[in-house]
Symmetry: C2
C-alpha cells in the first residue's frame, strides 16, 4: 500500500454547472427519458403524451415538459385551433442527445444480464 496516486478530479465535476452533471440531471428524473423515447419519431400533443406515458400525472408531465423545453431539448408549438393544440417535438439538440441516450440504452441491454437483479430486493 504505497502512497496512492492522487490524480485530481476535474474540479468542476463537483459543480451543478458541470455539463455532464446538468445533462444527467435532465435525463435521469423519473419521466424525461420516457418523453425522449415517446417523441423519438414524431411530435405529440400534451394528452397524446399523457396517454402514452400512462401513469404520469398532468402536473408532473407539465413540469417535465417545461424543464425539457428550458433545457432546449424539446420545442413547444401552440396552434390556435378549436381547443388549442400544443405540439411537442424534439429539437435538433434533443435528437442529438437522444443518440447518446440510445447508446447508453444499448449498453444497458447488452449488459442487462450482468446487472445484479438483487437490487430490487434491497
Amino acid at each position: 500500500m504505497t502512497a496512492p496516486i492522487e490524480t485530481p478530479l476535474p474540479p468542476n465535476v463537483f459543480s451543478s454547472s458541470c455539463p455532464t452533471r446538468r445533462v444527467l440531471d435532465s435525463v435521469a428524473d423519473k419521466w424525461s427519458l420516457l418523453v425522449f423515447l415517446a417523441l423519438k419519431d414524431h411530435e405529440l400533443r400534451f394528452n397524446e403524451l399523457r396517454r402514452r406515458l400512462e401513469s404520469i400525472s398532468q402536473k408532473v408531465l407539465t413540469q417535465t415538459l417545461r424543464k425539457m423545453e428550458q433545457d432546449g431539448f424539446i420545442s413547444r408549438a401552440v396552434f390556435p385551433t378549436v381547443p388549442v393544440t400544443v405540439e411537442y417535438k424534439l429539437t435538433p439538440l434533443g435528437l442529438s442527445l437522444l443518440d447518446v441516450i440510445e447508446n447508453l440504452s444499448e449498453w444497458a441491454e447488452t449488459h442487462a444480464h450482468e446487472l445484479n437483479p438483487t437490487r430490487t430486493s434491497a
Copy 2:
C-alpha cells in the same frame, strides 16, 4: 392534424427493471458519477475516496459504494491489515460503463454552450 402515429413504446421502459432505467438510476444520483471518475485510473480506500470527494458524508459514501457494489460496478476488497484496509475498484463492468459515461460527458462538453443557462435561475 391527422391520426397520430402511435408507435408503441417498449412496454418495459416503464418498469424500474428496464435496464436503461436501472443504469440511469445508478449513475445519476448525486455521487455515483464522482465515484466512477475517482476510481477511473486506480483503486482507492474508503477514506481516500472520502477525501477526494471532499464534501461527501460517510453515510452517503457508504450508501453509494454499497449500491455500486450491488450493481456490480465496483468491487470491494478487505485486507486484514493493522487497521483494516478496504479497497474499492471498478470492475470490468464498471469500466465498460465508464466508457459510455465518458461518451455522454463528451457530448455534454461539446454542447455545453447550447444548454440553456437559465435553468439555474428556475
